[in-house]
């Protein structure tokens, strides 16, 4: 019996990407704690292994040996499927992300749309978990997470629409292919298409922070006011799966920012383009995400929604119109 070579390729990519996601989830927690420590003039984890490198392993074992409590009175179905529903799209988003010219699981023609479609399921899972928890903090968090995510989806998608206008394609590999050949070709510096491109990148990045519920927009799990928000009732591994999904979503968001604006696997000065440049840019963005989290305090919810509706959405619409006008002029 012979197996189709495509099936073998599929399995290799599937296992590889799940391993990538798991490794990232584990070591981004380590990075986050280490970085937070150094920003706050502490050391961070250091006891378990050299530089605390075995800390994620210890955390994982701890989470796995916690009793899986389902509190009395919760919605049994919603409570159980919520972490799974958050995790699945986080893995599915990786299906079309090109790490380099050849290192892509499947080069979908509607890759861009697919990634955002998968990413938008996240909010549904959080809502189900929060509402199903039957906890006052979680229910408040449910209302917040929905309004926050819908508010920030609009400027993000408008920015992406103006980018699609420039590149004429939703195929992520082709979008990167148009940006090859040095940093002046990258979309962030594509001033011929729109002088507001760096602003568009900023809008995308801010929206990505808000969509993944990262500080300063972590209203969904504002520890000081809502305990752990949507995750309050989740014990052990339920909490762990939510967090793995959150980190996977951050990886996807930073990958998308890299692909759309920073030229993907392109080298800024034309030397050895490849997967290492992609990872370098992606991890730099992730480092920035963590850096922002531990530098800025949480915004008010009022400020959060109004930032989107009063500033980001008008600017992104202006960017859209400017791009469409510039494309006709040049």
């Amino acid at each position: 019996m012979s197996v189709h070579p495509e099936v073998i390729r599929l399995l290799i990519f599937l296992v590889g990407i799940i391993a990538f996601a798991a490794l990232n989830a584990a070591y981004l927690v380590w990075l986050e704690r280490k970085e937070a420590g150094h920003i706050q003039r502490r050391i961070g984890p250091k006891e378990v292994g050299p530089f605390g490198l075995l800390q994620p392993l210890a955390d994982g074992i701890k989470l796995m040996t916690k009793q899986l409590i389902v509190p009395a009175g919760v919605d049994p179905v919603l409570f159980r499927i919520a972490p799974i529903l958050v995790m699945i799209p986080a893995i599915m988003g990786f299906v079309t992300i090109p790490f380099s010219e050849t290192l892509v699981a499947r080069n979908l023609d509607i890759g861009l749309l697919a990634v955002f479609a998968f990413a938008s399921v996240n909010v549904l899972g959080l809502l189900m978990g929060a509402w199903g928890s039957r906890n006052k903090y979680a229910v408040i968090s449910a209302a917040r997470v929905v309004s926050q995510n819908v508010a920030y989806e609009i400027p993000m998608l408008v920015t992406v629409v103006s980018l699609v206008m420039v590149s004429h394609t939703m195929n992520l590999t082709k979008i990167v292919g148009q940006q090859l050949g040095g940093f002046w070709h990258w979309n962030i510096f594509n001033f011929a298409a729109s002088p507001l491109m760096p602003v568009a990148f900023l809008i995308f990045f801010v929206c990505m922070l808000a969509e993944t519920n990262r500080a300063p927009f972590d209203m969904a799990e504002a520890e000081s006011e809502l305990i752990a928000g949507a995750f309050t009732e989740y014990p052990g591994m339920g909490f762990g799966v939510f967090f793995m999904a959150e980190y996977a979503n951050i990886v996807i968001g930073c990958s998308m920012a890299t692909i759309l604006f920073l030229g993907g696997w392109d080298c800024p000065f034309g030397l050895y383009p490849g997967v290492h440049w992609f990872l370098l840019k992606m991890y730099f963005l992730i480092f920035t995400v963590i850096w922002i989290r531990w530098t800025y305090p949480r915004t008010t919810f009022y400020g959060l929604l109004n930032l989107s509706w009063k500033i980001l959405i008008p600017i992104s619409f202006v960017n859209l119109l400017l791009t469409s006008a510039m494309l006709k002029v040049f």
Partner: protein, 133 residues
């Protein structure tokens, strides 16, 4: 359906299954490793968390989500932006000023939703209480 799109679907389906396994796997491991019962003397292990107190009242009640208007405005936008995607994809394939004018009209009408809401005071954050009017 060609072989290419069949493989596209196969990949997406496989990643769905992979995600499912990756999500359910930790729970299965936890079920195997974790204790099934807790030594509990007060019978309060399964109690919902309310900072250590016995919860007062139910959480599934009606409460004022002041920012529901934002969600209503989102409805005005979400579908329209999906319509913009195909437009953006074929934009500028042929040179025609009409495309630009149509986009301006479309986005202009969309932007009126923000202007209207701004004017109506949706963005000013006040206690929406009508009891002492």
């Amino acid at each position: 359906m060609g072989q290419q799109s069949l493989f596209d679907l196969l990949y997406v389906a496989a990643f769905f299954l992979g995600g499912l396994v990756f999500a359910v796997g930790p729970f299965i491991i936890a079920l195997l490793l974790a204790p099934r019962s807790t030594r509990n003397t007060q019978q309060k292990t399964a109690q919902l968390i309310e900072c250590g107190m016995v919860p007062i009242g139910d959480a599934w009640i009606r409460f004022g989500v002041v920012y529901y208007l934002y969600a209503l405005m989102f409805l005005a936008f979400a579908v329209d932006i999906l319509y913009l995607f195909p437009v953006a994809l074929v934009y500028n394939r042929v040179f025609a000023i009409r495309d630009f004018i149509e986009i301006v009209i479309f986005v202009g009408i969309l932007a009126l939703a923000v202007v209207y809401a701004w004017n109506k005071g949706v963005f000013t954050w006040e206690r929406k209480s009508y009891s002492h009017r």
